[in-house]
Symmetry: C2
């Protein structure tokens, strides 16, 4: 994974790129905002959420390292954006960024490709959410997180050894992402544990003991 290589090289040529550090839980953008900056996620986890009139919050998607925040050709933001963990951003003024896009077609193409990948991910997630069973949903999410960890490049995971996952999410966030309640999420965790599929070292730290079984539990 070369990540946002085009962006990075363009960045070096531009003085105006600003680094921003954001604490865990902080609000980055609100629905309806028209941010004047375009950012690249350097580190951390970001959640895109919407809040319903009844107070429930849904997590619509995530942005991880090398993902982009904000978009060309569209100013307004369609959802709330929060930092889940501490986040490190690299920001460009909007106008500068759009001129960069014209100057560097490769950059434009890279962003296009990346947004198509995000589209795939969003649709895959919609597919997970159509599966009713709580166990299936949680297992699917764990597998997706696992894959992203692998993609991030820890070579040892290719050994099919037991993979350790450090969850960036609270139980409530998991529930909001899965369309379940905290209690149900918790119960599914202990069930997966009792079935010997995972091992919980702490609330946010777990080890996948049996990947095959986890995939079976995900129903795919």
């Amino acid at each position: 994974m070369t990540g946002c290589a085009g962006l990075a090289s363009a960045k070096r040529r531009v003085d105006d790129a600003r680094h921003r550090h954001i604490g865990a839980g902080e609000l980055i953008m609100r629905e309806g905002d028209t941010p004047d900056h375009f950012s690249n996620v350097v580190a951390g986890v970001i959640k895109l959420t919407c809040t319903f009139p009844d107070g429930r919050e849904s997590i619509l998607g995530l942005q991880l390292a090398s993902d982009c925040l904000g978009r060309p050709y569209r100013a307004v933001c369609g959802y709330d954006v929060h930092a889940v963990t501490a986040v490190h951003l690299c920001s460009f003024p909007r106008r500068l960024f759009e001129s960069l896009l014209q100057e560097f077609p490769d950059l434009d193409r890279h962003l296009f490709k990346q947004s198509l990948d995000e589209l795939d991910a969003a649709r895959e997630w919609a597919g997970v959410l159509t599966r009713h069973a709580a166990r299936e949903r949680l297992s699917s999410l764990l597998l997706i997180i696992m894959r992203r960890i692998e993609a991030a490049g820890c070579a040892n995971s290719a050994l099919a050894a037991n993979v350790m996952i450090d969850l960036p999410f609270s139980r409530l966030e998991l529930a909001n992402y899965l369309g379940l309640t905290v209690e149900t999420v918790s119960r599914q965790f202990t069930q997966l544990k009792n079935d010997g599929i995972i091992s919980l070292t702490s609330a946010r730290e777990l080890v996948v003991l049996d990947q095959r079984a986890l995939e079976a539990a995900a129903g795919a």
Copy 2:
């Protein structure tokens, strides 16, 4: 809505564009295919689905008129593609299309913008699916279809008059899209009818009598 204006103008300059007509229910692409054509949807409704080992099918997304089928920078298809209604496509050989993209930056930008809109739609849909109640889900879907009908340009709907919806989907397809069963979908329809919110003239034809109430039922 000018639709795929750039594509259309490019099309006129190209002999190789082929028109394809596909019957309702036919398979257009299978997951894993590497189609050698890139198509623009002229008319009809297309569903993107995936089938799970247990036989259940999920609808991941839809493509309507002016949407595109196939994508630049990625050959393999991640899901099955079926015609829901009769479909009219306008297809370009893949290589030709990719050279067109370089020749016409406007076209590239248009497709980029469109894919970002699709990303928004996919995330919005994920948000709907996190809401548990069957009534909320079906109401949300009806509203989304309504909006798309309006966007397609029937001026009279702006009058807030009763909107007629001609569903392209069977009950089973609705169920697969909503993550519910046929029976539950059917029950929700009759409940919305009994509540005076909609009126069912036939299984696939309904009138929205009270849009406000439908929005309330959607929970947003």
